[in-house]
């Protein structure tokens, strides 16, 4: 029972981790919460659907990278045109603009495709279960491996080797450093959005293939939970975001499993639903340790 819950927690956690990274990255570099990040998930998965079964009929192996690429570029475009200028005015303005973008993306998806649920079958090998003692689809193995792997790669090579990555980390660790970057600043910011978009799309497609049934709003609530995850870990620490992702994923599944054990609680199951848990956790963390569990940044100057 709880073994399964933990497995499920890992599956969801991997997704949260990948999405949460996007929030943390944008926040720590540009200092605002990218509310539209969750909806990029939906964009990614709908693009993938359109390219593969839903429209052009390309094989997934081609459709996925293309969709991911397009989503990344879209994210970069939105960032360059709307979010970065807003962020340079104030974090509130940026947050508001991001909310606007999220509204637009959701309605646009519904308008272009439909607001009804569409089937999205990964099909074949990915759908099969690994084994009895590991109640997990190969898709999940791929998700976990892909998520953790790409995070590790991003970490080891991009952030610690490439000049751009170092600059991003510099401006992440200290926003003032962003000013020193001078001309390359815009460029760095745009790349940050590109990365977050790519990861969002990957996560979205993983979710879509798992649920096999997608709606335009799928990004919103998942994105919100991922944001909570990033806050748990301390939104300004990238590693913390990943840890927070797995933490939240496992927590919500354990709680759900535990509640189902107690029939008395059945009528109140709503209070233990994923979203409820996420919201409560967010409230608690913000109250108890606003800067997150893993963040050790310093007091700011008055």
């Amino acid at each position: 029972m709880f073994y399964e819950a933990i497995i499920n927690g890992l599956i969801v956690g991997a997704i949260y981790a990948v999405v949460a990274l996007g929030y943390s990255l944008v926040y720590s570099v540009l200092g605002f919460v990218n509310f539209a990040h969750g909806d990029l998930l939906a964009v990614g998965v709908y693009l993938c659907l359109f390219l593969s079964t839903g429209g052009l009929g390309l094989p997934l192996l081609i459709a996925i990278p293309v969709a991911v690429g397009i989503t990344g570029l879209l994210a970069a475009g939105i960032g360059r045109l709307l979010l970065i200028p807003a962020a340079q005015k104030s974090s509130l303005a940026a947050l508001l603009v991001a909310i606007g973008v999220s509204v637009i993306l959701q309605s646009a998806l519904a308008a272009v495709f439909t607001s009804e649920a569409l089937p999205f079958h990964g099909g074949g090998f990915l759908g099969t279960t690994v084994s009895a003692w590991l109640p997990m689809k190969w898709l999940h193995v791929a998700t976990l491996a892909g998520g953790v792997g790409s995070l590790a790669l991003l970490w080891a090579f991009f952030f610690h080797r490439s000049a751009l990555g170092l600059e991003i980390r510099a401006s992440a660790s200290n926003p003032r450093a962003a000013q020193i970057l001078g001309l390359r600043r815009e460029q760095v910011f745009t790349v940050v959005f590109l990365i977050s978009g790519v990861f969002a799309a990957l996560a979205g497609i993983a979710v879509g293939l798992d649920d096999q049934l997608i709606v335009p709003t799928l990004g919103f609530s998942l994105g919100l939970r991922a944001f909570v995850a990033s806050v748990i870990g301390g939104i300004r620490s990238l590693g913390g975001a990943v840890a927070g992702g797995f933490l939240l994923g496992i927590t919500e599944n354990l709680v759900a499993a535990a509640v189902l054990q107690v029939p008395k609680l059945a009528p109140y199951a709503g209070a233990f639903s994923k979203d409820a848990i996420a919201m409560v956790v967010l409230a608690l963390v913000l109250t108890w340790r606003p800067r997150g569990v893993f963040d050790r940044s310093l007091e700011t100057r008055p």
Partner: protein, 297 residues
């Protein structure tokens, strides 16, 4: 005709809500997404008080609004001190969404909410002035009162101090003003207005339901607040008219017809987001966030 009456009433109620939000966002620089939560709580409390506990609706509204202000006090003390502006926004967002879950789970009527909330009482017999018109006039009165109150507040010391706190909390503190106290008071006032509006809404529609605090409501509220602009309180009347009429009109034009036009409808909904963005970039009130070139107190 009855549509006009309804629209005016709804707009008046929305005005009461928006006036508080405007004061909060533009004068004190607190970005709260919790307005929807207080709105819903006010509605539910007033509904329960009047339907189950049998209070007259006016008393119910007032009690509900005051009780919710108590909740707001707790929230404010908890978060206004510790949280940066945008984190406060997200914490209050969490509050709203959590409210939906709570009402859905333990609220009367669960997911459905509660129908059959008694309507506004009538002051003069309904055969003289029809009840809906009386309700409309009442709501209008409350709306105008709140507009006047907020407009007046701006000219008072507290208004000036609030402006100072918004522009630079640290400076305000070095001048001996307690930023937390100022923010808290304004926050409470706006929450009171939100709860009052919710209560009025409940008695107008006769139905309360959890989605009164849902993300749709939050976005609608945000659009309304931003459209109201930061300058004058009566701007809220305009913002309210837009957020009440536009969805209604979209419904009638695109959806409630022989061949509903989904694309057009959804495109118009996307326009909400567009409004927010355009207003942030072109509206005169972005300056209020950045703190330069601001209105004279």
């Amino acid at each position: 005709m009855d549509f006009i009456v309804y629209a005016v009433t709804a707009a008046a109620i929305m005005t009461v809500l928006l006036v508080g939000q405007q004061l909060l966002l533009f004068d004190t620089g607190i970005f709260s997404l919790g307005g929807a939560a207080f709105f819903a709580c006010g509605a539910y409390l007033s509904a329960v008080l009047s339907k189950n506990a049998g209070y007259p609706s006016f008393a119910a509204m007032l009690i509900a609004a005051l009780a919710v202000t108590g909740i707001a006090l707790f929230v404010g003390v908890l978060w206004l001190r510790t949280l940066r502006s945008d984190f406060f926004a997200l914490a209050t967002l969490a509050l709203s969404l959590a409210t939906v879950v709570v009402l859905r789970t333990v609220g009367p009527g669960g997911l459905t909410g509660m129908a059959g909330v008694p309507s506004f009482g009538t002051i003069v017999p309904p055969d003289v002035v029809p009840a809906p018109v009386q309700t409309m006039l009442l709501c209008l009165a409350v709306a105008i009162l709140s507009i006047i109150a907020v407009q007046a507040l701006r000219g008072q010391r507290i208004g000036a101090i609030a402006a100072a706190v918004r522009v630079d909390e640290n400076v305000a503190a070095t001048l001996g003003f307690r930023p937390l106290l100022v923010k808290l008071q304004i926050f409470l006032f706006s929450s009171f207005l939100a709860a009052l509006a919710g209560a009025m809404q409940a008695h107008l529609l006769g139905v309360v339901e959890p989605r009164m605090a849902s993300i749709d409501m939050i976005v609608l509220l945000l659009v309304g607040t931003i459209l109201s602009g930061g300058k004058r309180a009566w701007g809220c009347a305009f913002g309210a008219m837009v957020v009440v009429l536009v969805p209604e009109v979209l419904q009638r034009v695109f959806v409630a017809r022989a061949e509903p036009q989904w694309r057009a409808f959804l495109a118009c909904q996307a326009a909400y987001g567009g409004v927010i963005i355009v207003m942030i970039f072109c509206g005169p009130w972005l300056q209020r966030f950045t703190g330069v070139r601001l209105r004279r107190a």
